[in-house]
Symmetry: C2
Subunit: 459 residues, 2 copies
């Protein structure tokens, strides 16, 4: 039989086991923190009905959808349009879920969801066709207090502090503030505002003069004064909580939307402080708009201070109505998403995550084949104490067994030979430190537990 080359499609993150362990630890940290803030787990199927998934038609997203068809369906239907598709984000499935189960849920509904999503991206370095999203959202019924907007940054802070991938800043803006300010400068139309912001985004690359020329030129026709104010606005960053409040006040009076946005931002900033997020970890950044038309109030981006090139590692915001396509209920919400596959890949590229130690704590070596039952009993004892243990079941030279442990990232190897049995001890080889010690057989579990706790505490 001719061999089929074993391969995966481009754009998927398939990891070797030790890297998968590192990835899994990040997933676990995110989950633990989401749960700590009272978010409840939800999982939805990867396959949805196409008409449910694609209610908001058009745009790049739909061009990237993966359609799904079973053999049976294909034979029956011929060339009919496919009925099924893979989810491309977790927001549409959340909307569908909340609308479908509305009467069985308690509101405000706080859910987290950490699953893979699928997009038919062009094959390109750093572009993923299958990737994890780790989302939280709070959904209100009819209304949802602005206070929930303050809780989200506290979650972000808690997650990224524990992920320990370096100093980070949660950046805040408010679409109402932005909209009101632009209105006051004569840019009232939302689409026009987005176009202006797109030009402003070119500040770094093209320079201020280029942006000035474009905005005062034929296409936009803005007044010089308005352009200067816009450029000043989007460059507002705060250095502390008080500085943020001062800078918001310094913008001067404006139309209603602006005043509302300013009041919301101030309340959010105050509550973030009450929630114990250090001032060093959040800031006003009035350039943040989030591309989507979706957001209507608070918006968030999070950046690594030492790695701005990575861009936002966690983004989101407040939206007016989650599921208008499925239900007449008014369901405002606020949420964020961490694209973990992309983040992990970028962190690895930047040298910020490393291959993990193994999840296996101990290798019980096989010094003497006749003692195998004793080795198995020893392993059972260690596992019973919660210590992840592998036993060498096929012998070989001890040196080779140590080498296997070392290569596999297993820190401790346990040796129980004739000498040890006679003395009632066990030899423990620490493959990381490169030394070894003897311990009484009866003390082994306790000793290893202490060693492993110390190792875990030291990362």
């Amino acid at each position: 039989m001719a061999l089929t080359p074993a391969r995966t499609m481009p754009g998927v993150l398939e990891l070797l086991p030790l890297d998968q362990i590192a990835f899994q630890r990040m997933l676990d940290i995110i989950r633990r923190n989401y749960e700590r803030f009272g978010f409840l787990p939800v999982e939805t199927p990867a396959i949805e009905y196409t008409d449910v998934l694609l209610t908001k038609t058009g745009g790049e997203t739909e061009r990237q959808v993966y359609f799904v068809e079973s053999t049976g369906a294909r034979e029956k239907k011929g060339d009919d349009a496919p009925e099924l598709a893979l989810r491309f984000d977790l927001t549409v499935p959340l909307a569908r879920y909340v609308a479908e189960h509305e009467r069985e849920l308690s509101f405000p509904f706080r859910r987290y969801q950490m699953q893979k999503v699928y997009r038919g991206e062009r094959a390109q370095r750093g572009r993923f066709r299958e990737f994890y999203q780790c989302d939280i959202d709070v959904i209100g019924k009819d209304s949802l207090s602005i206070r929930y907007d303050a809780e989200i940054p506290a979650v972000i802070y808690s997650v990224f502090r524990e992920l320990a991938i370096g100093p980070f800043t949660i950046q805040l803006n408010n679409r109402k503030l932005m909209r009101g300010y632009f209105e006051s400068l004569g840019v009232a139309d939302a689409a026009q505002q987005m176009l202006v912001l797109r030009e402003v985004d070119k500040l770094d690359k093209r320079g201020a003069d280029y942006v000035r020329d474009t905005l005062t030129g034929e296409g936009f026709g803005l007044a010089h004064d308005a352009v200067e104010k816009i450029l000043a606005f989007v460059q507002v960053r705060s250095a502390s909580l008080q500085d943020a409040i001062d800078k918001l006040d310094a913008l001067g009076a404006g139309p209603e939307a602006m005043e509302q946005g300013r009041a919301e931002l101030k309340e959010v900033l105050g509550l973030i402080h009450a929630l114990g997020v250090p001032e060093t970890h959040y800031a006003l950044n009035l350039s943040i708009a989030r591309g989507l038309d979706y957001y209507t109030g608070t918006v968030y981006e999070t950046t690594l201070n030492d790695h701005p090139q990575i861009g936002s590692i966690c983004s989101g915001g407040r939206y007016e109505n989650l599921a208008g396509q499925y239900t007449k209920s008014h369901l405002p919400g606020v949420g964020i998403s961490i694209g973990l596959s992309r983040l992990y890949w970028q962190l690895r590229e930047a040298g910020l995550v490393h291959t993990a130690q193994s999840t296996v704590d101990v290798l019980v070596t096989q010094m003497d084949e006749a003692q195998l039952p004793a080795y198995l009993a020893l392993a059972g004892e260690l596992r019973g104490a919660g210590i992840a243990t592998e036993v060498v079941l096929e012998g070989g030279k001890l040196g080779k067994q140590f080498k296997y442990a070392d290569r596999a990232g297993i820190r401790f190897a346990v040796v129980l030979g004739e000498d040890e049995l006679a003395k009632g001890v066990v030899t423990v080889k620490d493959l990381r430190r490169g030394d070894q010690f003897e311990v009484a057989r009866t003390e082994l579990v306790k000793t290893l537990r202490v060693e492993l706790e110390q190792a875990a505490a030291m990362g």
Copy 2:
């Protein structure tokens, strides 16, 4: 805009949050036990190349495959065969993974994988189109000691003991033993053996006389004596380790395959004992064949003693070569699979799993809106101590807040009103026990931790 009805396709297990928590706990227990036995995590993409996935053509499986196509690919290719498909199990992706990364892996390679698989089943109660499989496999290079076959039941025991869904029995057989025994009775052909076994499977439904008639009848033409021996063989069950050994010996001498199978089973049984699995939890069952041609030695099934109608809840066995379609390397292995979505559904139908308590431990109520910063600080303190905490951010009557907590499955509600603030205490309401107590503000974290640990210990 007309509303789209929010719905999912049949055959998916979408759960409400408290049920999802119960499901997630089962996943966590399985993962923890797999890791405790030294298995390493692997995740593979849901989408594979069709030619990689379907190297073994034909059969029911292929008829159930979901094909995947992006919009872009469809526009370009017209009616060409689709290139992508969703995995229908975790075994083919494991074979592909091991063949693809062979040089980067250490052998014996011990991996666990817990992901969803997809099958275009007909819509029917209890049939799933998307479901979790939780697999472990040990893959050897060139050879793999029979000892690994003994470790698998120790893992099964450890998993199902902790899942605590009632008494269970791990049932063992060996395909070589079965093959050799059938050979000795003149049924040498493997396909013929499977047909005989299929008839034997009808014992319970149709009775012994029906099966006797069929096997001695025209189609099979077996001797009466051979049929009696086959019927006696497949009814062998052991009541203890010694009984298992005795019953294996009582089968009498046979051809080489049979002797090999018997020796393997004896070694496996002895090592299972050494690994500390109680004799009450495993048994010889010589009727087990596992439908697939795939298995060549030890085979496993696991049943709940009090719920035989559920069938096998964890099955697997030893196979000769994992990835012959992708690599010339000889990769024997042994493994099992737990189909968790189906199992969870069946347990729920049988009343054996219940809706969980919430993952949220504590609700900080809002007695006095002006004290919100104090409530947020209190929540931060609880979260910092690892206690999952939700804060009521929009006020309302206290009774309504308690009701929300109760409905949401949150056990403890914390009240910090004017009285409590003046006295330096906090009132803790236990919604499960229906009582409440005061505790000094400084003692709150410690007290709740103790309460939560006790609650966890009591399940």
